[in-house]
């Protein structure tokens, strides 16, 4: 009986008792969710264009952020370093297309997936060779990202909003909006959607698969760079960031592998869900539920909607 009370009554009673903490938890969840969504977007872009689940998206987040910080440490001005980091992601996209994707075209998806696995470990080793394994500080001030905190007194308590978190939410939202416009309104965006629907049909109307792959890997690289800057500003740039990037997996399961709105909604559900779960129900089991709760939420969705919230329903003729 006591357990039932702790599970079904106490957390909700506490939400009512301390609404400031509820709002704070929701806010933290939303910020995490937006950042998860940003990482998930990188996965979605590549999956949409090539049907490849890019396991290397997480290390691309770290790699791009390290290039930015590394160049700045070598004396390159911050915004020039940002441009050079973006160019490095373009070079990576071209190399991946030439060395990995082109030779493996028409191979089963699992082969391409394994290739991105190899790419991940190559980038980890290459990154550690160039930058070393020590964590770095993101050049937050130099990029004019806001610092500081606004504390709002409310409901007998206070809500702390980090300016950096607000900036992260705004920048991620702009990024998502730009990508949505890019893919729905531009010629390249339409070509990409055509490739996503059918490689053969796209080829038959003169769309270059190779060009599209470079564009889409570059776009994913830019998304990774933005995610790396925002996560790096929150908690430092280190190779353990790539593990956080794997939180995008439940987001993708939830939102669907091919849907940009799905990545956003999925990110928010996972972000808020895990924070609420950890904060209100975590203490019942000694804490640490955040690590697996996202996967449980995703699994529950998977049982009822295998294609995700916004994914395309797979119907195959037999």
């Amino acid at each position: 009986m006591d357990m039932l009370y702790k599970v079904f009554i106490e957390p909700f009673a506490f939400m009512g008792e301390a609404p400031d903490l509820l709002i704070q938890t929701l806010w933290e969840g939303l910020v995490s969710g937006v950042l998860y969504a940003l990482i998930a977007l990188g996965f979605v872009l590549i999956f949409k264009a090539s049907g490849v689940f890019n396991f290397a998206q997480g290390i691309m987040v770290v790699f791009s952020a390290l290039i930015l910080v590394g160049l700045y440490e070598k004396g390159v001005p911050a915004f020039l370093a940002l441009i050079l980091a973006a160019l490095a992601m373009l070079v990576l996209a071209i190399v991946v297309e030439r060395v990995v994707l082109r030779p493996l075209v028409n191979q089963p998806d699992i082969i391409l997936f394994m290739a991105t696995f190899g790419l991940t470990y190559f980038l980890i080793g290459f990154g550690e060779l160039i930058f070393g394994g020590s964590p770095r500080e993101m050049i937050t001030e130099q990029l004019f990202l806001p610092q500081g905190t606004t504390e709002i007194d409310a409901f007998g308590g206070s809500i702390r909003l980090q300016h950096l978190d607000i900036a992260a939410a705004v920048i991620a939202s702009i990024m998502i909006g730009l990508l949505a416009v890019f893919f729905s309104k531009t010629r390249i965006g339409r070509a990409l959607r055509a490739v996503a629907d059918s490689h053969k049909a796209a080829l038959s109307v003169g769309i270059s698969l190779n060009q599209i792959w470079v564009i889409v890997w570059f776009a994913a690289g830019i998304v990774a760079l933005v995610a790396g800057i925002m996560w790096g500003a929150r908690s430092g740039v280190s190779f353990s960031l790539q593990i956080i990037a794997l939180k995008a997996l439940p987001v993708l399961i939830l939102g669907g592998f091919t849907s940009i709105p799905g990545a956003i909604i999925g990110g928010l559900i996972i972000g808020v869900g895990e924070k609420i779960g950890e904060f209100y129900w975590g203490p019942l089991v000694g804490g640490g539920v955040e690590t697996w709760l996202a996967y449980v939420i995703a699994l529950l969705f998977l049982l009822y909607r295998p294609q995700g919230l916004f994914g395309e329903k797979i119907i195959e003729r037999i």
Partner: protein
Amino acid sequence: MSFRTLSLGLAVATMLGGTALPAFAQDSIYVPLFTYRTGPFAGSGTPIADGMHDYLRMLNERDGGIGGVKLALEECETGYDTKKGVECYESVKGKSPVVVNPWSTGITLPLIPRASVDKIPILSMAYGLSASARGDIFPWVFNPPATYWDGLSMIIKYIGEKEGGLDKLKGKKIGFLHLDASFGKEPIPLLQELSKELGFEVALYPVAAQDMQNQSSQWLSARRDRPDYMIMWGWGSMNGAAVKEAVRSGYPMDKFYSVWWPGEDDAKSGGAGAKGFKMLNWHAVGTNFPAIQDIQKHVVDKGFSKAPKDKVGELLYNRGVYNSLLIAEGIATAQKLTGKKAVTGEDVRRGMENIKLDPARLKELGLEGFTDQLVLSCADHNGHRAAFMQEWDGTKWVKISNPIEPMTDRVKGQLDAAAKDYAEKNAGWPKRTEACDKAS
């Protein structure tokens, strides 16, 4: 056999031959260094690896080794991964190492039962199994100069003194932010015992390795629980992220304490807000010691070190130096005890049991005032030495306390019981047969 198969076979054979492990000469002393310069824990592992390597390399360059015998140094990258650490151990044990430094509590635990079988002493400096301080039960394991339980008791004692006495801790709440791994969990049994005894409440905040840089939930929970003090048992990128999150969440930094593992970079990551963050330490920072200046002269300036010049003398670099000081002292003492130059693991085990780093010896080694004295014995493989509290002033660590002795009266009983329990639970745990030297 086709020409192609033959060529392939030859190529493989050449590759295997080329990568064969180096053989170490009989007239050298083989010291493997388990390090991690890669992965999520590299931020802590790299400076320690540099300090360890550079001190021993300095002895090679300056003195021609120890007692005229060169040290054969070899690093094995563990990535702070227990599985890889055990693989490292398996790969080095055939080369007659005189001591193994696992540099991970997780790696130390599976090596403890192997040490007596393989006759290789394990040096887990201020980490590992606290109970292994008992030399009569763990003759092959050394964990000086203090155990994690000592460290926890020192923090509680310091907090108690701040409050006006240990009895004033009654009714207080102490948060324990820890890496959710063997290392982070190690002091929890003592913390829970002390909470019962002294009447304070404990709130545990585990941080999974994959969420080391995503700690907002833990600090939200801390806001809910309002702990009067927060104690951290973190490693790698967890430390810097925790300092950042503490600042972000507005936790009072002067109430935030850590065991001895954060470095300068971890404190710096919190920016100006990290001022007031405190941690235990037992040795100096800086380069103002003849031995460390010799490292600069003989190793760093000659390009034999992987450490950037400005990192020499930082906290975790000097921690690595301290670790190698113990290795070197164990070897030198073993040479003295046995009269042999090329000592073995069995000799170094005896040497470690007879370490006597008093002020005179520290001065002789060029480390006068670097650290407090340390005397190990047959029964005591730890020393249970005092540490001091230091505070981050925004740019550097500042020593803010006199030496804090561990609460031996409260820790010893727990430690003895844990050691006995370990021996009972591990069926067939061997009784000590190794003789004690007179001096020990």
